[in-house]
Homo-oligomer: 348 residues x 2
């Protein structure tokens, strides 16, 4: 029986229904948690070596390293949970470097009192997401903090990836005349979290877009597209991603509002709540900045893949100093600035 | 001026004396925190690329990946702090695989209200420790949780390392007749944390042993010692490390109590508090299990290096089923078992 087909947590719930501080103490309860729960969920030969780190084979090229911590609240939301999010986010960050994930690490910070079954469901979601990405969780760590010193579960995932090309896919590679391609509609993750957290029922229910982006991102690289930069749209949404690229590259980016898809449920929720959907978080969308001559072919490649089937060109890299401008639906151009804080805390 | 010579935090303390939730929101305050504080502390060309992940050159051999989260309380303690600990721990875990660290990631989970200057001092301590290990912090992530949902700062570090040898340094490689070498006295980290946390002043003050172990661990490998397994002694102390190796390897390990150094301050504190020093945490000690014929040479190599100058052979791998036995000072043999919980919570 594979781990993901198990319906019940392998830790005896009647005996240990919740996490105790002793589960983090390095004694037999820690060992039981790691063996009976995490090893059962993540089962693979590297983990089974039970060493301080995981040894992987020599990569075929350069490597990429990335990390993200996840503190999303609530832990489960329409379209995903902290576990799937933690795997998607780290695999996606590697994909944005043009790297294929070859190993993930996971660090759990558990609050005393967390329900064991909740942890099991999160671990299984991580396993499923890792399977879908073709990568294994090869090493990990668990800490427990006292009740009131954490919030259920925080997860850190780090990932190492392999680059099989020589491109420098990074903000500094973008050039005047490059096309900016967006992989689909924006704003769904933030709205889904907000509705789950606040118990707000919108007319059209919205699910998080949380998804793996490795297939479309690596397809661009593999098919020889002149990819200069890719970035997934997380905290701060489309606007923050473009502003960061523009700032780092010291180049101007211009986009056209009318080309950016926003589904009806997100549009309605943002109107009610006074949010700008271009600043709302996503977890399954990215922008690719590619050589202008390659724009149409890049869009075609992306549209063939389900997760990026809504791809389209939304703008260009222009001459001039670092700034992001947008032509609105009525033709007026405005500058997009970073918010000072966030629209929504603990979105990921 | 190098980052580590700065005396003051580069974030204007008068304006932002403490972390706000907005510092985690992905907007301009997040950007300021990352640029003005973390980039200033960790400054290096890979970080300056400001991408979703760090791209490193192709490793010369296999790679190792490891991770640990740090929730130590208090954040500063005699002999170290959460920042130095987070770098030492992850570099050491790589060293225990026989790997040299080539890049570290860091994930911060900050509690709203954390003093900005505390964060700066922690970041500088990480930089100093990374410099000492010859590795850079190449990528990172910052999240902020509301007051009462965290505890000042939690840090996750992950690391990727390079193996320039073909050995399998892991529990399953140990063999009957192997020697068990310990790199120095045990129990100082746990006692130092306890005294700092509880405000207990022992007759002989004890500092944490927190230190880098890459030099001695890699010296064994580089000098051709037949190293079968190495493990640093963290939560659960010497006893837990040996029990885990024995369990995973399904082999018996025997040690001799009289050979294990415990300094007077640790011995006294453990007597007062009812702790067993062999189960108390360390952060700068490790055991190496090496082929019996190599034992003396391995000890000589380790003794030449300051951090492991107190190395000695403390036991052997024996015939028989998995268990750890110890001959006590009066000659009686007993079995070492895992505690169910911990002696001290949040030790690392």
């Amino acid at each position: 029986m594979s781990a993901t087909s198990r319906l019940t947590c392998p830790i005896p719930i009647a005996r240990y229904p919740r996490i105790l501080t002793a589960h983090g103490g390095g004694g037999s309860l820690t060992r039981s948690l790691i063996h009976d729960l995490f090893f059962a969920a993540f089962e693979n030969p590297v983990l089974a070596d039970e060493h301080d780190g995981a040894v992987l084979s020599q990569p075929a090229g350069r490597i990429a390293l990335t990390t993200d911590s996840y503190v999303v609240s609530p832990l489960f939301f329409p379209g995903g949970n902290i576990g799937s999010l933690a795997v998607h986010g780290t695999v996606n960050d590697l994909a944005m470097c043009g790297a294929r994930a070859v190993g993930l690490s996971v660090g759990f910070i558990l609050e005393e009192g967390l329900e064991m079954d909740v942890l099991w469901r999160i671990a299984l979601a991580m396993r499923r997401a890792a399977d879908a990405a073709g990568v294994q969780i090869v090493t990990g760590d668990t800490k427990v903090v006292e009740k009131g010193k954490g919030d259920g579960v925080f997860i850190n995932t780090a990932g190492v990836g392999e680059l099989k090309h020589q491109r420098v896919i990074a903000p500094r590679s973008i050039r005047e005349g490059d096309a900016v391609i967006l992989s689909g509609d924006v704003g769904r993750h933030g709205v889904a979290i907000l509705s789950a957290r606040e118990g707000i029922a919108f007319e059209t229910p919205v699910e998080s877009d949380s998804a793996l982006l490795c297939e479309p991102a690596l397809a661009l690289v593999d098919e020889g597209i002149d990819v200069h930069c890719m970035r997934d749209l997380t905290r701060g949404g489309l606007a923050a991603a473009l502003i960061e690229i523009s700032d780092t590259a010291r180049r101007a980016i211009h986009i056209d509002e009318a080309t950016i898809p926003v589904v009806e449920g997100v549009r309605g929720a943002c109107e009610v709540l006074g949010l700008d959907p271009f600043y709302v978080a996503n977890e399954g969308r990215f922008v690719a900045v590619v050589g202008g001559a390659n724009a149409d072919r890049a869009v075609e490649i992306l549209q063939r893949i389900e997760v990026s089937s809504g791809s389209r060109c939304i703008g260009q890299v222009r001459a001039g100093a670092a700034r992001v401008t947008m032509t609105g639906r009525i033709g007026v151009e405005r500058i997009l600035d970073l918010f000072s804080g966030e629209q929504l805390p603990r979105i990921c």
